[in-house]
């Protein structure tokens, strides 16, 4: 399997952006054990990239690889639904055995 590569697009340093970043970090640690490569892009600082990626809503999380690409928008508050939307069958996590 290709390396898991996720990019999170946020708009500025807002509570919602921080919420999404924290939720993503938790998902990466708990479900992928650090095997996922995660990047964050602030569309206010890098609008050209937002344009190329056609970002409408923020926060938006894109699974860059493995392809096909998948998108989830929102503050990622529900880990199980985020994983399902990214195309992973929910991992049994220590919190939810």
């Amino acid at each position: 399997m290709d390396a898991l590569h996720l990019t999170l697009y946020v708009a500025g340093d807002t509570p919602r952006s921080r919420q999404a970043m924290a939720n993503l970090e938790r998902i990466c640690v708990e479900h992928f054990g650090g095997r996922a490569k995660c990047a964050t892009v602030d569309v206010l600082l890098d609008p050209e990239v937002a344009d190329t990626e056609r970002i409408l809503t923020t926060p938006t999380l894109i699974r860059e690889s493995p392809t096909p690409r998948r998108r989830v928008t929102g503050d990622l508050s529900d880990a199980q639904r985020v994983l399902a939307a990214l195309g992973f069958s929910p991992y049994p996590s220590p919190q939810n055995p």
Partner: protein, 497 residues
């Protein structure tokens, strides 16, 4: 500041941006309020997207103002391709840094999953960036409904759209956005966008009227400033995009010129007190075969002899037929055309809507710059139009001719052979300067023809009913029909009967 704004006596607090859309700046009394947001609402197929694109295109070509187009529905490639048909080369403007797209059309990657709270921060950042990058003064967003279909959190959408328009307004950008309506005469938009976002509301309609499509534009509200009220017809021209016909702005001045031109018939000139006025519009009405087309032919030929340029719009007869007829009366249309002092335009009345006929005719008049114009016949056009559409057509055409100090001869066919008035003349007689009636007269076993000048604005005229004959040299007007009465009503009686 716009110098035309100083014409208002009342100080205008809301500055306006001239859109450059023909006729719209007239009905909006100067354009769209600057740094405000205007909703363009309409049903499917009402030309909302054309309006949104035209607004930016006119900004680039007429005001040197760059524009950003945010598309929520059509793909960027489709917008570029579709608008080429109106002569708008968007790709070139993009290269020149005058036009920028923000592509917000539904993603090819499929519907986006939603987990938790979100907003349109990404979209706002991209629009702001595009505006700054090219120094845009105008932004069009088309159409917001696609957003409401894609995202179910409508409260969030309204708040975000408010944030986007507020940001743009603060940047001094004048915003146009489109929204879809369900009914021509129902709620302004499907999702009630206008209450949250729009300072101004413009409605585009494409309604069925007497089985014909009729496009109109109405300015519903314009906060803090004045505008014309009611619906104004508009048309889509492949040359210019949207063309609004600003009826109430049209001033039908009476003929003011004292210069006379020949009708092409010497005796008729005499009856009119020395010819038609150079900027007058004349209606010639008569039954089939009374010689209306002959009158038109002589009018054109008289113009040629006087070194003028003549233009004929023919809606009944083919060009070949008109040229043959003219030759039979001793007039060489082909030769006149060759010298480029005559132009004959043939059209099928039912081929286009009235507004389209009007715009095309105005464009031809603009290009050819005739001294005189004939329309043969108005009745043929009336048959394919609603009464209101027809009247608007005549008013607009008459006004165009008068502004250009061009003489107009319109013919109308009366339905009954003897006497009676045509529907056309009933509806437009007040709009014309002169009326000439051509009539058949039954007289002791023969059919004779008689002519009368009914009205001649601003001049004395001969009020005799005169007999005329038609031969190989055209029309000859003779003596007063003194022994016959009832010519106009068609119930002739003879003195001494």
């Amino acid at each position: 500041m716009n110098p035309s704004a100083s014409q208002n006596i009342r100080p205008e607090t809301v500055a306006k941006v001239r859109t450059g859309i023909p006729g719209f700046d007239s009905i909006s009394e100067g354009g769209l309020p600057r740094a405000r947001a205007t909703l363009i609402a309409g049903t499917a197929g009402s030309a909302k997207t054309v309006f949104a694109v035209h607004y930016l295109a006119a900004g680039i070509t007429q005001a040197d103002e760059p524009g950003v187009f945010v598309t929520f529905e059509d793909s960027v490639a489709d917008v570029r391709k579709n608008m080429l048909g109106f002569g708008w080369d968007i790709a070139r403007w993009e290269k020149e840094g005058k036009w920028a797209f923000v592509d917000a059309a539904p993603d090819a990657e499929g519907p986006i999953a939603i987990v938790g709270d979100y907003d349109l921060g990404g979209l706002l950042a991209r629009i702001e960036h595009a505006v700054k990058k090219i120094g845009a003064k105008r932004v069009s967003l088309d159409s917001l409904n696609a957003l409401f279909v894609q995202f179910k959190d409508h409260a969030m959408l309204r708040a975000e759209l408010f944030r986007i328009t507020s940001t743009l307004k603060r940047m001094g950008v004048t915003v146009v956005f489109t929204g879809e309506r369900i009914d021509e005469y129902g709620d302004v938009t499907r999702h009630g966008i206008e209450e949250f976002v729009a300072d101004n509301v413009v409605i585009l309609r494409n309604s069925l009227e007497e089985e014909r499509r009729r496009r109109t534009v109405e300015i519903l509200k314009m906060r803090g400033t004045t505008h014309q009220r009611g619906e104004f017809p508009f048309t889509l021209s492949s040359r210019e995009g949207i063309i609004v016909i600003p009826l109430s702005q049209i001033q039908l001045t009476q003929s003011s010129s004292t210069v006379r031109i020949t009708s092409g018939v010497k005796e008729l000139d005499r009856m009119c007190g020395g010819g038609f006025f150079r900027d007058s519009v004349i209606l010639a009405s008569g039954a089939s075969g009374t010689g209306k087309t002959l009158l038109v032919t002589q009018f054109m030929s008289g113009g040629f002899k006087a070194k003028e340029r003549s233009l004929l719009f023919a809606f009944e007869e083919s060009k070949d037929q008109l040229f043959r007829n003219a030759a039979a009366w001793g007039m060489d249309f082909a030769g006149m055309e060759q010298k480029e002092r005559l132009m004959v335009v043939n059209r099928y009345p039912h081929a286009m809507a009235m507004e389209d006929h009007l715009v095309e005719m105005q464009q031809i008049i603009d290009d050819f710059k005739p001294n005189r114009v004939a329309v043969d016949s108005l009745s043929a056009l009336e048959r394919v139009s609603s009464l209101r559409g027809f009247r608007e057509f005549v008013i607009s055409l008459t006004s165009t001719l008068k502004q250009k100090e061009t003489a107009g001869l319109f013919t109308s066919t009366s339905p009954s052979l003897l006497g009676g008035t045509s529907v056309t003349e009933k509806h437009i007689s007040t709009l014309t300067d002169s009326i000439i009636l051509l009539r058949y007269v039954e007289s002791f076993g023969t059919m004779r023809r008689a002519l009368v000048v009914l009205k001649m604005r601003g001049s004395q005229h001969d009020d005799a009913i005169r007999e005329y004959t038609i031969d190989g040299k055209g029309m000859h007007i003779g003596d007063r029909l003194s022994a016959i009465t009832g010519v106009l009503s068609g119930h002739t009686t003879f003195e001494g009967e």
